[in-house]
């Protein structure tokens, strides 16, 4: 999963008024452990140094406190949430509390037996990630042999009567397959397909040069998506998550800082978005020390970028400031090392040239004949893809990488 924006429906939109609304979404990142090694993972680069996972009792308390505040959607995510053997206990409680319960999974570990237990627990929906329509790219980008397994898991999901969202992170290695990816999702009877153009945070940021598609590839991908939308009608809804760098339009990240989403990381840190931990100098509270209510309404971390009061020029006088709320803080930080400036994807940002340069770089590499179909090892100017894994994580932390 890398595109929570698409989870928001117009009805969820609310103003960045001084009134603080309760969270609607509780995202429980149960663990950073994961059997896959995706090169675009949004988990923090230093995930391997966060080992102290919350206990079942802690999670049950978090679920109750979130629901009491009014959260209605509960996502169980990770890492791979199926690696927690108390998942069924947590889903049972969440469902009984009245959450709509979403399992966001790679599918690895979703056996028929586990599926039956989750069904009995009242799980409402499964979002299953796919990496490609081909075994070659799926197994390459995840650094695993999981292609066949994912197809089987999709059938288990459907045979249990769950609505199924298929999420596919789109990047240069699979963007040319987009038509086939859509066809595959339709054949697997998905109700929704999220074509999530890679957002460049964490591991995807490390690997940005290899993952960033060209402008022309994106235009073709969107055209192909529209052709399939027409062909499939209302059989399957397709979301094409906007590629920030190319659109030159800042997104209203997380639908506003501390506005709708409350993420709890595996060790209990509460965040307004799942990558905000990278921002230096911001203190985010832990659910072991504070109640969710105090965290949401009163903590410095959640209040820091709420609304528009924190903005500087060009945001503070911009007519679109309520619409995009200055874009994404993490993106601003990753591109400029400053997290209180306008998101550089905005053409009004004094740093916008940095984004233009990155996009031009992707076009140049394509023009110079770098083979997008077999990019591993074919490019001289780019380091090899770094796959997400505990060893890589610890080694990168040693080199001072955090984001």
């Amino acid at each position: 999963m890398n595109a929570p924006e698409s989870m928001v429906t117009p009805a969820m939109l609310s103003k960045s008024a001084p009134v603080i609304n309760p969270p609607l979404w509780l995202l429980a990142e149960l663990t950073y452990r994961c059997p896959l090694h995706c090169a675009f993972c949004y988990n923090p680069i230093d995930f391997a140094s966060h080992k102290d996972e919350l206990s079942t009792t802690d999670w049950l308390r978090v679920l109750r406190e979130g629901r009491a505040m009014g959260a209605v959607q509960c996502g169980f995510s990770g890492g791979e949430p199926l690696l927690r053997d108390d998942l069924e206990i947590l889903v049972t409680e969440a469902r009984q509390l009245g959450y709509y319960t979403n399992l966001i999974t790679s599918g690895v570990g979703l056996t028929e037996e586990r599926a039956a237990q989750l069904k009995a627990a009242g799980l409402d929906h499964i979002q299953l990630s796919f990496q490609d329509s081909t075994r070659e790219i799926n197994d390459f980008i995840t650094h695993t042999k999981t292609f066949g397994l994912k197809q089987a898991v999709a059938r288990v999901v459907k045979s249990n009567g769950w609505p199924m969202v298929i999420n596919v992170v789109i990047h240069r290695l699979n963007i040319e397959h987009i038509g086939r990816i859509i066809e595959m999702a339709a054949e697997l009877d998905a109700e929704y397909l999220e074509l999530a153009n890679t957002q460049y945070y964490s591991w995807a940021h490390l690997n940005r040069d290899q993952l960033l598609p060209t402008q022309e590839q994106l235009i073709r991908a969107e055209q192909e998506t529209n052709r399939w939308r027409e062909k499939l009608g209302d059989k399957m809804r397709i979301f094409f998550v906007s590629p920030d760098y190319h659109e030159a339009k800042p997104k209203k990240c997380m639908n506003g800082w501390g506005n709708v989403f409350l993420t709890i990381t595996p060790d209990g840190t509460a965040l307004p978005c799942h990558t905000a931990l990278m921002l230096p100098g911001l203190a985010f509270p832990n659910v072991r020390d504070l109640g969710l209510k105090e965290i949401w309404f009163d903590s410095e971390g959640f209040n820091h970028y709420r609304g528009t009061g924190w903005m500087k020029e060009p945001c503070s006088s911009c007519e679109d400031k309520e619409k995009d709320l200055g874009g994404c803080r993490c993106q601003a930080y990753l591109l400029t090392q400053l997290h209180d400036v306008a998101d550089p994807v905005c053409p009004k940002s004094p740093y916008h040239h940095l984004v233009q340069k990155i996009v031009a770089g992707a076009d140049m590499r394509a023009a110079s004949g770098a083979n997008a179909a077999a990019p591993w090892g074919s490019e001289q100017d780019v380091h090899p893809l770094i796959f997400r894994g505990p060893k890589e994580s610890l080694s990168l932390v040693g080199k001072g990488k955090k984001a």
Partner: protein
């Protein structure tokens, strides 16, 4: 899913994968579905909570008119059910 236009004898019900519930924090009915939510206004909530696959559209209209001591709710109810079907919020039993 039955794609026929809503008619008076059909019995709509909330579709699989969707859940209707009252939310005190929002003071309204909401319709929940994978990763999303629709906040319903009073009339939409009152119509949808009667869509149980047993009551016909005609029954629902009669009930609403009785509950709100009014008449002439047929058109508004049909218009909402049309929208609800387009959004797959309801299906017909």
């Amino acid at each position: 899913m039955n794609d026929a236009n809503p008619n008076l004898s059909g019995c709509p019900r909330v579709n699989d994968g969707f859940r209707l519930q009252w939310e005190p924090a929002q003071d309204c009915h909401v319709l929940l579905y994978p990763e999303g939510m629709v906040k319903l206004n009073l009339s939409a909530g009152e119509i949808l909570k009667r869509c149980d696959g047993k009551r016909s559209v005609a029954d629902i209209v009669v009930e609403l008119e009785q509950a709100f001591l009014t008449t002439g709710l047929l058109d508004e109810t049909l218009a909402f059910l049309h929208l609800a079907r387009q959004n797959k919020w309801v299906t017909w039993s």
